[in-house]
Every structure is written in structure tokens, then in C-alpha cells.
């Protein structure tokens, strides 16, 4: 008779998403906008809304654009 035993190796806990406040959202946007393209969050938003990015569909710009729901 073959005895099967449950593996004693525990599965890693499934990570839970972290909900953040609007203030934390601004902090994240500020950090990422400063890294690339080197703008403040407010300046990035101003330029984006004004259509001032000559080529908005670049990975660096889109990377920050996609974070705008953090603050809107």
C-alpha cells in the first residue's frame, strides 16, 4: 500500500493588493515623474493636458501617464 502524505512545504501566501490614499498617490506620481521624464507631477499633468508632449506614446511618458488615475 502506498501512503501519500501532504507536502509539508507551505505555499507562499497570496499577496494582497494595497489600497492607497490620494496623498500617497500624489507621492508615487511625483517620484515616478521625477525619475523619468524629470518633471514634477504637477508639471507632467499640465503638459499632458495641454498636449505639449511632442510624442506622447513613448515608454517613458506612457509609464507616468498610466499613473494618473492615482490622483484623478
Amino acid at each position: 500500500m502506498t501512503t501519500r502524505t501532504r507536502s509539508s512545504k507551505a505555499r507562499p501566501a497570496k499577496p494582497k493588493p494595497e489600497f492607497i490614499s490620494r496623498e500617497e498617490g500624489w507621492q508615487i506620481l511625483e517620484e515616478q515623474a521625477q525619475k523619468n521624464p524629470g518633471l514634477s507631477a504637477a508639471e507632467f499633468i499640465r503638459k499632458w493636458d495641454a498636449g505639449e508632449f511632442e510624442n506622447p506614446d513613448t515608454p517613458a511618458i506612457i509609464s507616468v501617464y498610466m499613473l494618473l488615475p492615482l490622483v484623478r
Binding site: P17, I20, N36, G51, I62, Y65, M66, P69, R72
Partner: protein
């Protein structure tokens, strides 16, 4: 490493909710040599399915994404998968190739996933982005017409 959800990301809204990996930072990927790092953002909305049972009344619909592969120091970009239909001239999902790809031989044999790509989309890439000179000035309208005619015949992958 955690995913971060925008305030209100559990409730329907006219604005998209955001799920972002590691508070917007890159995450180094184990087992890659030279090292790779992943950055990920997803936009989603809640869609009500009125006919469904109450337990399945709402479903999550992805409306945008940005998945980027870079070097851990973020100086080299390899690939970026994008869907951001609200950005001008960017209605369709697409892929950006970074020049650093040329230094990664493993990418030469990798099967990089794409959505269904039509011949019209390939022709548009050639003309719009790669400088190919079209023979007909109304090329854009012709490609739109061709896409419309082909979409009904497209097999579901």
C-alpha cells in the same frame, strides 16, 4: 512587492481604476541573465451584467495596460506592451521595441505575444512609422476601408 490600487478601486466609476506593481517601481526578475526588470500598470473598470446572477453581477474589464521590460538600472529598454486608446494616434494595442534588444540574443528566438495583427496594420506601420512612401495619397482611407471589410471575416483566435 505588492500591487497598489488607486483609491476607490473597488467601486464602479466613470474614471478607470489603476492597479500598479510595486508602487510604480520596477521589479527585478530572478533567473534572468543579464538581469531584467518588469514594470506593470493596468487600468480597469467594472462592467455590470444585469442579466447575471447577483454573485456574478459585476465583472472587471481591462481598459489599458503598460508592461515594460527594462534593465534593473532602467537605462536600457527592451520591450513595452501598451494599450492606451485615449492617447492620440494610439487606439490599438501595440509593442515598442527598445534598441537594447539588439544586445540580448535570447530575444531573437523568443515568441513575443501580440494580438491579432492585420495586413492593414502592418502597412500602416510601414507608412506611418518606418518612412515607406505610399503610392496613393488616400492610403489612410483605403486602409481603414480594408480593415473594416476584413474585421467581419476575421476568425476568432
Amino acid at each position: 512587492m505588492r500591487e497598489v490600487v488607486r483609491p476607490g478601486g473597488y467601486h464602479p466609476s466613470s474614471e478607470p481604476a489603476l492597479l500598479v506593481l510595486a508602487r510604480g517601481d520596477q521589479v527585478s526578475l530572478p533567473g534572468t541573465s543579464p538581469a531584467l526588470a518588469l514594470e506593470a500598470r493596468e487600468w480597469y473598470t467594472f462592467v455590470e451584467q444585469r442579466e447575471a446572477h447577483v454573485s456574478a453581477r459585476w465583472r472587471v474589464q481591462l481598459t489599458g495596460y503598460d508592461y515594460a521590460l527594462r534593465s534593473p538600472d532602467a537605462r536600457s529598454e527592451f520591450l513595452a506592451f501598451h494599450l492606451h486608446p485615449d492617447v492620440p494616434n494610439s487606439a490599438s494595442p501595440h509593442l515598442h521595441l527598445g534598441s537594447a534588444l539588439l544586445r540580448r540574443p535570447s530575444f531573437a528566438t523568443a515568441q513575443i505575444p501580440t494580438g491579432w495583427v492585420s495586413s492593414a496594420e502592418v502597412l500602416r506601420l510601414l507608412i506611418r512609422d518606418l518612412g515607406v512612401r505610399p503610392l496613393r495619397p488616400e492610403w489612410d482611407a483605403l486602409l481603414i476601408e480594408a480593415s473594416s471589410a476584413r474585421s467581419t471575416a476575421r476568425a476568432t483566435p
